[in-house]
């Protein structure tokens, strides 16, 4: 394999021939270059898509900063090359290398992939292959790095189980240190790969799929997932941090334009709303808020360290952040007159939100985004997102009359039991909204409707539910397209075939590893890119493996069925999810658990982890 100097030499010839060569050369402000000769433990973080999408990823930013604070470890980054660069790399036998030092990935001790969504899976295989590594865990030996992965999609690790040595389930801030300590001592003791993996499996929240056996029923459903030895736990409980650590403030500042050029500060983690389709809302419990001062200081620090002009305050439901008013007024006073753009997404649909946004609005104004998700009371009860139409209209009136010309509304179609009337109601509501806008600002008013398709996700109350059929989805999309694409109105929707892939992978079992490999061998990659996604490759691969997609997608699962991820625990009990599913079918809503604890199960399951640093027992908000 080429060494660093040879790689740099080849890059000189290759880079002038590819699009955006700045993606492949590192050298960014705040990147961390450590000395390979002095530091014994080396980790590479990989975001399995191109640089432009990977750099702003908050998970990678957090881990990069956290790991590089360790004096005994160096951490570098890599991204997947775009098609032109991949071709040039393969032609020139250039292995995938880390940006900081141009070192081939194969020379690191650990490679960590983040898996925020399923359509990145083939890129992981491609990255391993470009790195010159065997893609399957079973084919790697003591000379190869340990491949770990984490992120939201890892809550169902099974489809990727053949390729990843160890998954980190849940939050990585503390778990990564346990993993690195473990690999450091394994390296010092010259342990074999298997011995190292056994030690990793002993860390709470770590899952080594090779140590678990899956058996299947005759009908193809999973019969059981059992540890290969009694020394491995029956259930892997996710990792959480009891108190959110200080947010990152030394973001890598790319020298080229990427999808988000900004400082991102997580103001709160977790959500109590309990929307039944929402994976993030379920897997990130409990809610942990950052103090206002910590957030404001982090912004101040990050501005100094990066020179960015844009700040995003992130959370799953910003309006629920307890001190939101105080935060917004502090920020707007403290950072006034600095030509900054501050965004606060995920606001509840109420006029209060408009006031908040108004305070943050700098010189430039974008659109105002709201997510009603459904349009009839029946569907709102089903998904547990009750919102009154009048409340939405009043909020829209406020938005249009207070300086915004454009509103973006998010809806989701394809829920079980949804009818054409429910979909028509979406169109009607949108038309009402734009009508209100026109009354106030005339033809300047615009409305953008984003229509996604419901994908049943693991660890949610809808994990048993069926995906809507492709024909239904197309009919529903067509109904909306006919009515919502008039002057002043724009609509975007998801490709139903991509939805099928996402649904298959997100609730799949480990037999899908063969399918992912087969699709990748036939050319599947960048499945999240509309122009690169090739549905037929996937259908062929599924057929080749004797697995009709319907068994993963449009089939409603039995409550009694063993689900492929039942051995992975988010802390929420299966009972709670079953109860919520039943309530959905019965058309009943569930209140926000901020007001009244619903005993979802996380407190007893996560109790040891949730003790704060003085050993004080965690209380889930005021409730519990």
């Amino acid at each position: 394999m080429l060494n660093r100097i040879e790689i740099k030499k080849k890059l000189k010839v290759i880079l002038p021939t590819v699009v955006k060569p700045g993606r492949y050369f590192g050298g960014e402000f705040n990147h961390v270059v450590k000395n390979w000769d002095e530091i014994g433990l080396r980790m590479a973080l990989v975001f399995p898509d191109i640089y432009d999408i990977g750099v702003p990823n908050l998970g990678i930013s957090i881990l990069y900063e956290t790991i590089n604070k360790r004096p005994d470890t160096l951490c570098e980054r890599a991204y997947v090359p775009w098609l032109d660069m991949e071709e040039a790399m393969r032609e020139n036998k250039l292995p995938l290398y880390a940006l900081e030092s141009c070192t081939p990935l194969a020379e690191f001790d650990v490679i960590g992939f983040t898996l925020p969504y399923e359509t990145l899976y083939t890129n992981v295989l491609n990255a391993l292959d470009l790195a010159g590594l065997p893609i399957r865990s079973a084919d790697r030996n003591d000379s190869h790095p340990i491949i770990i992965a984490g992120g939201h999609a890892a809550f169902n690790p099974e489809p990727m189980s053949a390729f990843i040595d160890a998954f980190v389930i849940g939050e990585g801030e503390e778990a990564i240190h346990d993993v690195l300590d473990c690999i450091k001592s394994a390296k010092a003791e010259k342990l074999s790969r298997i011995q190292t993996l056994e030690r990793l499996q002993a860390i709470p929240g770590i899952y080594v799929p090779a140590f678990y056996n899956v058996s299947y029923n005759e009908d193809g459903t999973v019969k059981s997932v059992e540890p290969a030895s009694p020394k491995f736990p029956k259930k892997i409980i996710k990792r959480v941090v009891g108190i959110l650590p200080d947010p990152p403030t030394h973001f890598v500042v790319p020298s080229i334009d990427v999808v988000h050029n900004r400082i991102a500060v997580e103001i709160m983690r977790g959500c109590t709303r309990g929307c039944r389709f929402c994976h993030a809302g379920m897997v990130n419990r409990p809610v942990r808020e950052r103090p206002v001062e910590q957030i404001v200081n982090a912004i101040e620090e990050s501005l100094k360290n990066t020179g960015y002009e844009e700040i995003a305050l992130l959370s799953l439901s910003s309006s629920d952040y307890m001190h939101i008013e105080e935060l917004v007024s502090t920020i707007s006073e403290r950072f006034a007159g600095r030509n900054l753009v501050i965004s606060l997404p995920s606001l509840r649909i109420e006029t209060f939100a408009v006031g908040l946004m108004e305070k943050l609005k700098g010189v430039r104004q974008g659109g105002f985004t709201l997510a009603p998700e459904a349009s009839t009371d029946r569907m709102r009860s089903f998904i547990n997102k009750p919102i009154q139409a009048e409340q939405l209209l009043e909020t829209a009136r406020q938005i249009y009359s207070r300086g915004w010309n454009s509103i973006k509304l998010y809806f989701m179609i394809g829920h079980p039991s949804e009818t054409m009337e429910d979909v028509q109601a979406i169109a009607d509501l949108c038309k009402q909204v734009i009508k209100e806008g026109r009354k106030i600002i005339g033809n300047k008013a615009s409305l953008h409707t984003g229509v996604s398709t419901f994908v049943p996700k693991s660890h949610t109350p809808f994990q048993w539910a069926a995906l809507d059929s492709i024909q239904n989805v197309l009919d529903k999309q067509n109904l909306l397209k006919d009515q919502l694409r008039t002057p002043g109105m724009k609509m975007t929707w998801s490709n139903p075939r991509e939805t099928i892939l996402e649904a298959t992978l997100s609730r799949g079992d480990r037999r899908l590893s063969d399918v992912i490999e087969d699709a990748w061998r036939h050319g599947a990659k960048f499945d999240a890119w509309m122009d690169q996604f090739n549905y037929n490759l996937w259908i062929d691969a599924l057929e080749g493996a004797g697995l009709p997609p319907a068994i993963y997608t449009t089939r409603e699962r039995e409550i009694s069925e063993v689900l492929p991820w039942d051995h992975i625990s988010t802390g929420i009990s299966r009972k709670y999810l079953e109860r919520e599913y039943q309530k959905a079918l019965d058309g009943e809503t569930t209140d926000d658990c901020r007001d009244q604890c619903l005993a979802c199960g996380i407190v007893p399951t996560l109790t040891n982890q949730l003790k704060d640093k003085d050993g004080v027992q965690w209380v889930c908000l005021e409730a519990a």
Binding site: K12, V13, L15, P16, T17, P21, G22, Y24, F25, G27, E28, F29, V253, S255, I256, D257, N261, L303, K304, N305, T306, G307, Y308, E309, N339, V363, R364
Partner: protein, 217 residues
């Protein structure tokens, strides 16, 4: 308000960063340094920074120029110290000079640029020497750029070859709006792949500006 011209080196770390992106790199450098840039008027106020002529991707330079306007009366030495602390690898600040507020825009006053091309060790020098002589002796050199024919020869003000190690070519090319010679095009004419050589911009010649009576307000 003052207007300041920075002379800096652009090094390898930024050789694949184009002009637009470099503009952002500088904006962020000023923000980190907490140098209060003046903003343009209008609905989308932009910080006032001007660059001289763009450097092709893959090249380094010892004469990049940038003008900025700032609402601060700090001395040049103070500004330079702040900027040096905040600048990114690949930029080496040389000097800061005050420029009269109303003197013409940087882009309009560059006349020509000097490039030094270092040839690789294993390169056959004889044909290159011959081609340099040939091009120097030619009346014109017709080429195509984006489907349009143009004459490269008048854009070359100077072209010399040196065989002393490492062998190199020096070229001075016109760099005026609408009349810009590109080093990679000259290299192509000489039968040299621009990918195997190191190209450094070593000088910019500015048009002599008529004496400014007005100085900084």
């Amino acid at each position: 308000m003052q207007r300041v011209r920075i002379h800096y080196f652009k090094g390898e770390a930024l050789q694949y960063i184009g002009n637009l992106d470099l503009h952002k790199v500088w904006e962020r450098t000023f923000r980190r340094a907490q140098v209060p840039l003046a903003y343009s008027q209008g609905f989308h106020p932009q910080p006032r920074i001007h660059q001289a002529c763009p450097l092709p991707l893959g090249f380094t330079s010892q004469v990049e120029l940038l003008d900025f306007w700032c609402d601060s009366d700090e001395s040049l030495a103070e500004l330079q110290a702040k900027l040096e602390k905040s600048v990114q690898p690949g930029i080496e600040i040389q000097t800061l000079t005050n420029i009269p507020l109303r003197s013409p825009a940087l882009q309009t006053i560059v006349e020509s640029a000097l490039y030094q091309v270092i040839l690789p060790e294993d390169c056959d020098l004889t044909p290159i020497q011959a081609k340099v002589n040939q091009l120097n002796g030619a009346e014109s050199c017709l080429r195509e750029r984006r489907g349009k024919q143009y004459d490269l020869r008048p854009l070359i003000k100077e072209l010399t070859f040196s065989s002393s190690k490492p062998a190199s070519i020096t070229m001075r090319l016109m760099a005026m709006p609408g009349a810009t010679g590109r080093p990679e095009e000259v290299l192509e004419e000489l039968g040299i792949s621009p990918f195997v050589v190191d190209v450094v911009r070593t000088d910019l010649t500015l048009l002599s500006i008529p004496e400014e009576t007005e100085t900084n307000a």
